[in-house]
């Protein structure tokens, strides 16, 4: 009975956290490694559910768990191009995003692309909001340069 109750509680936890965690780790490491890291982090959460479920910032904690699971594998993030039926993706966008630092890419994709607040990203990364703003500004400048577009274009 306890096992079933545990699983139900954990299922609710996953429903509430999986999307944000997956998006954050995808922004950091690309879709395939982001998926792997999320699975590893949620697997860790299942193993330590009593502790993780009681945390104030479980997404931030599990984000670091996910980072640890992929950090030893040095590789640039890879975003697979969606199929033709899906929305058109600028040819240089994936390469441009891959050229940013992990923190810049997190700030750009989550704040600029996914409308997270600075505070949410700061909590995830364990930094203050001004740092997120700085990563965002520098990341956007670098990305626009890579895409050869200006802010007013």
């Amino acid at each position: 009975l306890n096992e079933g109750s545990d699983e139900e509680e954990f299922r609710e936890f996953v429903i509430g956290t999986e999307r944000r965690l997956l998006r954050a780790l995808t922004a950091a490491y690309g879709d395939q490694r982001g998926h792997d890291a999320t699975a590893a982090a949620l697997g860790f959460a299942w193993e330590h559910r009593a502790r993780v479920l009681a945390m104030d910032n479980p997404v931030g904690y599990l984000f670091r768990v996910g980072q640890s699971s992929v950090r030893h594998r040095r590789a640039r993030p890879v975003f697979e191009r969606p199929s033709e039926q899906e929305r058109r993706i600028e040819p240089g966008l994936t390469a441009g995003l891959a050229s940013l630092s992990t923190r810049q890419r997190l700030a750009v994709m989550l704040v600029f692309g996914d409308e997270w607040t600075h505070a949410e990203v700061a909590e995830l990364m364990g930094v203050d909001r001004s740092t997120v703003q700085r990563h965002l500004e520098r990341g956007l400048v670098k990305l626009r340069k890579a895409l050869q577009v200006s802010e007013n274009e």
Binding site: E7, F10, R11, V14, E18, R19, L22, R23, T26, A27, D31, Q32, G34, H35, D36, A37, T38, A39, A40, A41, L42, G43, F44, A45, W46, E47, V65, S68, S69, V70, H72, F79, E80, P82, E86, R87, R88, I89, E90, L93, T94, L97, V108, M109, F112, G113, D114, L147, V149, E151, E153
Partner: protein, 228 residues
């Protein structure tokens, strides 16, 4: 006309949505045997290997430490005599020349190194026998004073000193298979610190641990020729 920023945002959202979702079942499956577990296992392996490496290095240091006296290696090295090589000082140069001359006189001019230590005659007497430390023939500067400063030199090779009377039936064979009067692979001799004159010596088959007298130094004699 579309806003380029809005267009860029939509494209990023598409990329963020491109990762397949993780279900509760996926999470439970990856628990324990997942990547975190694998990463931990790798860390454990690396830790064990690191410990083994450090242990191996320590073992190597212990094994390669200076050997105990009595080693019969015919060609000494710094690690077998118990001292380290150092840049040759003026004193060391003189002691080196004395050593190579003594080795040549004892029948082996090809020795590779000499180990020497600064000590007093009293301390040398306590460690070695009187023949080695005595002032044979009383050369100038020789002193039997226990506080007299001396250098004890030790060389290793194949030595057959002259002017020693031993019955031929007791004489061992040298490295060429010839009978020699007194054969040995180690020679210790005393040099007065005041005059740098040799005041005693002995051939033996056992090395003396000079570190018992002080901090020994070892000089390479490679390329050094005995005086004519």
């Amino acid at each position: 006309m579309s806003d380029p920023d809005e267009d860029l945002k939509l494209q990023m959202r598409t990329l963020l949505d491109s990762a397949p979702g993780v279900t509760v079942e996926d999470a439970i499956r990856s628990a324990g045997g997942g990547r975190v577990g694998a990463h931990r296992a790798r860390l454990a392996v690396v830790s064990v290997l690191s410990v083994l490496f450090v242990a191996g290095a320590l073992l190597a240091v212990v094994v390669l430490r200076p050997s105990s006296p009595g080693s019969r290696s015919p060609r000494p090295t710094s690690s077998t005599i118990g001292a380290t090589y150092h840049p040759r000082s003026a004193l060391a140069e003189q002691l080196d020349q004395i050593a190579i001359n003594a080795a040549a006189a004892a029948g082996d001019p090809g020795i590779q190194s000499v180990t020497w230590v600064a000590t007093t005659r009293g301390r040398a007497n306590a460690l070695m026998d009187d023949v080695t430390t005595g002032c044979s023939g009383q050369p100038p500067g020789c002193s039997t004073d226990a506080d007299a400063h001396i250098y004890v030199l030790q060389i290793q090779g194949f030595f057959t000193p002259r002017n020693v009377s031993v019955p031929s039936t007791l004489a061992p064979m040298d490295r060429h298979g010839h009978t020699c009067i007194v054969c040995g692979t180690a020679e210790q001799f005393i040099v007065s610190a005041a005059t740098l004159e040799q005041t005693g010596g002995a051939v033996d088959s056992q090395l003396v641990d000079l570190s018992l007298l002080g901090k020994p130094e070892t000089d390479s004699l490679v390329g050094l020729k005995p005086d004519q």
